[in-house]
Symmetry: C2
Subunit: 227 residues, 2 copies
């Protein structure tokens, strides 16, 4: 319906356990006709940043995410890129990343998100943010976060759309990462009352969405009405 109306569309995800291609396959199975180019995700955003600054990463990420970094020079690393590595977060692997950072004259830690945890069918799971904090403390460095709510992440989604922030609207379920991040970038933002939405979000001390909608379909209704 968004596409049929002539509006442009870009999907912004913090998914870092799998490449965009896998994410797109999942959406297609669910009936959404989406292409990889329409997805803004932390791994390609990190690749852009690595290329711009001539950084060669040591990767501590989920095995399935490695294809996103296939074209990147990883010899003689001068930075560490941290993703939601899940079972790859062994003591040995975290220690290796730590030792590399401590051996750099100016340690550079790039984190593909700063989430505290996420929910899977078998319960809550520690997210990349927890391990980012561990390395920040051990190395006395501040990570550079790629992904929502980083301003640069929304800016690159806007660049891919080719529209200015004030002509774009974000729809999301996360009050801080989706709504707060987009608003700080100059966009308007709707919060859907599905997914990780919690009633307490409506009293969030810092972030207030431009409007609430009960679900994605209602968001589309409202946007199309106002066109």
């Amino acid at each position: 319906r968004i596409r049929a109306s002539g509006l442009k569309l870009q999907l912004c995800t913090n998914e870092t356990q799998a490449p965009r291609a896998q994410f797109v396959r999942k959406l297609r199975r669910l009936g959404f006709d989406v292409s990889v180019a329409e997805v803004t995700a932390p791994a390609p955003a990190a690749c852009r940043l690595l290329r711009e600054r001539g950084l060669r990463p040591h990767l501590l990420v989920h095995h399935d995410l490695l294809p996103e970094f296939a074209e990147i020079d990883k010899t003689n690393p001068n930075c560490v890129v941290l993703g939601d590595a899940a079972e790859n977060f062994t003591y040995a692997n975290l220690n290796e990343a730590f030792q590399l950072l401590m051996g750099m004259e100016k340690p550079v830690l790039i984190s593909l998100g700063q989430g505290r945890y996420y929910k899977e069918t078998d319960g809550l799971k520690l997210d990349v943010g927890a391990y980012m904090k561990a390395l920040e403390y051990a190395c006395d460095v501040q990570a550079e976060v790629v992904g929502k709510p980083a301003k640069s992440f929304f800016e690159s989604a806007l660049a891919e759309l080719g529209v200015p922030a004030e002509q774009a609207i974000m729809i999301g379920d996360d009050i801080v990462s989706d709504v707060g991040g987009a608003q700080r970038c100059g966009m308007r933002a709707l919060q859907v009352r599905t997914g990780k939405f919690r009633p307490s979000d409506e009293h969030h001390p810092l972030v207030k969405p431009d409007a609430y909608v009960n679900n994605l379909a209602e968001a589309v209704d409202i946007i199309l009405q106002q066109q």
Copy 2:
């Protein structure tokens, strides 16, 4: 020489990879005649705290440390005790501790130290503090730190000696944990220029030892001279 002079002596260690008995065996091999009762260490301090507050811990510690908690009720845990678990810091184990904390009405996280890293013959290793920060962030809690530089830790060493703080002197190589911790407790403190001492410690922005000594033997010389 300290004992022969009639002064009392207590050893304060943040070692949490092994029980005191093992630590004492090592010192004996090096020629120091020391008993377990003369060692103040984080694990027994944590056990005291657990008993006082009726807490039943889930332990995420080094396997060798488990004997120190043999007498503690660990059924149906209502807190998490974190030590330098080294290879035990798998994603599964850290996630288990995280899930237990998230399931508690008021999560209690007790950390046997807050060190960033330590040095072994094969290089730097992540210490318990890094994992403490990971859990603090993920669970939005503040850990209670047992061990140096916690005031309660020095107070329990003083209680074992049976002397007031102003009659005790600390000797240590760590400017913050040893010297700073002891001074905040009302003791005087000497820093030895051995072990983890770094020349930059002499310009530490917050902590200034009462005196520097080149080694432990010189510390004993000075203390005995002033008696």
